[in-house]
Symmetry: C2
Subunit: 403 residues, 2 copies
């Protein structure tokens, strides 16, 4: 009988015992130190380090409520979903995700590789650091992980079982509300808009009927299009990065949805960096962001076709190149639309991004407006955005002088 045979929320002392008991390479450690390092909204994250050997491990535990609020009840099933999603990604792209050491259903926690040398990509981008391999890495991550879980590659009965395993009602609900609804209705009166832009937001988001129709179509794709096992929250805060390596983390929002939702999240968050760079006259950085957006889309398309040609099993997918082309066009159109949705929600919704909010006030106001303009173009013109250059052209069309 171990201490850890029934669930409780662990503190730093208990975490150390847990690690000694469960992680083989820590069994004989005598100098363990544990620190709570989580800064997310939902879970508790501990780094446990053996000061003798220098070895370390990350323990992530889910509570029955969100970390930010006792009132926010949330099933601990999210940690199962996150761990299983990372394990699946590790089968295809071990170099692009942290290694999982264990998943503990009783304690609702997992142990994973410590990425101590990595930086959260959003923070690095706010310092205008350049990561020349990022487009290569993220396009590989998406093509290699997203296509194999579709009906193109996966046997359909296995796919249906996987859909069932990743039904994720509570975390999807967060996206359904915050990404797909509140930015257009502000029905809970908790949107945050700079007062200078209040009228603009009223016209462009709340009263914009043609936009509402297109957003509704995209929302129902999110609700109904069980295309692929997504990461579900693939923004630059879910990516750890160094000069040479990229690691995707935190897929607790994983579920079967439209591939464009993941691709669009990457593009949207790169676009925030572009606006931030523009606002601060970081020309080399913004040029690199443009290249990265262009390459992410085009490399994703090329790698997607490679995986398709190599692994497609469904008969139409095997026999019809026209269908492959249609399928990719459809993903890119969804991607543009979802990128626009992510941009709008991060500008006016509850969960804003520091890339924009930490600009000095005048630039913040101008950047907010620019992001909404880009977002609405992405949404309304999504069927015409089919290459990386098409996405970059929208940014260029709307480029502004921030001086």
């Amino acid at each position: 009988m171990t201490l850890f045979s029934t669930y409780f929320l662990m503190d730093t002392e208990e975490i150390k015992s847990y690690v000694k008991e469960n992680i083989s390479f820590m069994r004989d450690a005598t100098q363990l130190e544990a620190t709570e390092i989580g800064d997310g909204n939902l879970n508790y994250v501990f780094r446990v380090k053996d000061m003798d050997s220098g070895k370390s491990v990350i323990i992530k535990q889910a509570g029955h409520t969100a970390r930010i609020s006792e009132d926010f009840k949330l099933s601990t099933d999210r940690i199962r979903i996150e761990t299983r999603a990372l394990q699946l990604a590790a089968e295809r792209t071990p170099e692009l995700v942290p290694e999982i050491y264990l998943f503990d259903e009783v304690m609702s926690c997992c142990a994973m590789e410590d990425l101590g040398d990595f930086t959260i990509m959003r923070a690095a981008l706010m310092e205008h650091r350049i990561f020349p391999h990022f487009a290569e890495h993220i396009s590989t991550y998406m093509a290699e992980n997203l296509l194999p879980s579709t009906d193109v590659v996966m046997e359909h009965k296995v796919k249906k079982a996987t859909v069932k395993n990743f039904i994720n009602p509570e975390l999807c609900e967060i996206s359904e509300d915050l990404v797909f609804t509140e930015p257009y209705f502000n029905q809970n009166n908790r949107n945050i808009v700079q007062s200078e832009n209040a009228q603009f937001v009223q016209e462009q988001l709340y009263d914009n009927k043609p936009l509402h129709l297109e957003v509704a179509k995209l929302k129902y794709l999110f609700l109904t299009k069980a295309q692929s096992l997504l990461h579900g929250d693939l923004h630059t805060g879910s990516i750890f990065i160094t000069e040479n390596e990229t690691k995707v983390i935190d897929p607790e929002f994983a579920f079967y949805g439209p591939i464009g939702y993941d691709v669009g999240n990457v593009i949207a968050n790169l676009s925030f960096s572009w606006v931030n760079g523009q606002a601060q006259q970081q020309d080399e950085f913004t040029r690199w962001i443009e290249d990265t957006i262009r390459d992410t889309i085009d490399l994703f398309g090329a790698k997607f076709k490679e995986v398709w040609k190599r692994e497609a099993l469904e008969l139409f997918a095997v026999k019809s190149d026209a269908f492959m082309d249609f399928y990719l066009q459809d993903i890119l159109s969804d991607s543009a639309g979802m990128a626009g949705l992510e941009m709008n929600r991060r500008i006016v919704g509850l969960a804003q991004v520091k890339d924009i909010t930490e600009l000095e006030h005048t630039k913040h106001v101008q950047a907010e407006k620019l992001c909404i303009q880009i977002a609405n173009r992405f949404i309304l013109e999504r069927d015409t955005l089919q290459t990386g250059e098409d996405f970059v052209r929208v940014l260029h069309d709307l480029k502004e002088d921030f001086s």
Copy 2:
């Protein structure tokens, strides 16, 4: 301890004991008679009648293999899915489904109302009988049952739980193969085509690349579009009918899919009756079929909008009439495409329909060809088929002299 506490396949004697033990209104019956009346491919169906009172009940039991072949292994979960789907339909439209008396998970059987006075609609239509209320009934069945399980009406977390409950891998696989694949590739070499039409089928179905692209799109809607809890097999053999009443039965193929799959199945099977009536110069009957196709589509659309206006809860659905119109257009386009798929598969695929196969040979050959022509128009022109009249116009355009 009852005889029925572990699963076994019941014979007529055991069925009688089962009924006495489990059906309250049969408890005191002394003159029970039981007959196996099933003619489907999968399950065993018994009518148990009390010769004293005249009361009767239907028991449907699922085996671990299909009724037609010991080699065809199939989960008995299908009887749970069928019973639950009928119970859900009974909440909305009790007059349009048989009453369920019990579901027995252990014995994998259900007990339901005996529809002894009803006729299978396909058989009645082959006698060119006219059912003036059918369009009214089936449009009510579809509008009242299909919309409430969508994200338009159903709370999204409840909907996701319902999706999970109705994941139906084995029966969906049958449709994926027989409806969406084999008619276009004949890869298992078991399609059945009249030799006179071999060349025509080769060109129009097997070698028709533009058609393959559209069929592939529709197949992936079936695989991925978790829009609504469907019946899943809504042909005229799944409908019991009398002069004044209509009962939909056998929803064991129920799963979350595109609404157009159900609507399209109804239209396709009415179209077979139309071709049958044409082939036999049954003018009054074919005119009634045309009216019924027209009314089924138009009444479905009108009732669908009524249910939407009355029950929509999702915010875009509540606020945007343009979105409601788009959503219905999308369903009608899917319906036309799925109608075409059902027609092709019933003509060249393994599971053919008597409406066509029982025509005398020359007419059979001509009807086969005509059905494929109608089917391909439905598939290729589906985006333009938006009213009942649009569907009927395709039939009129292709009308042939069978004399």
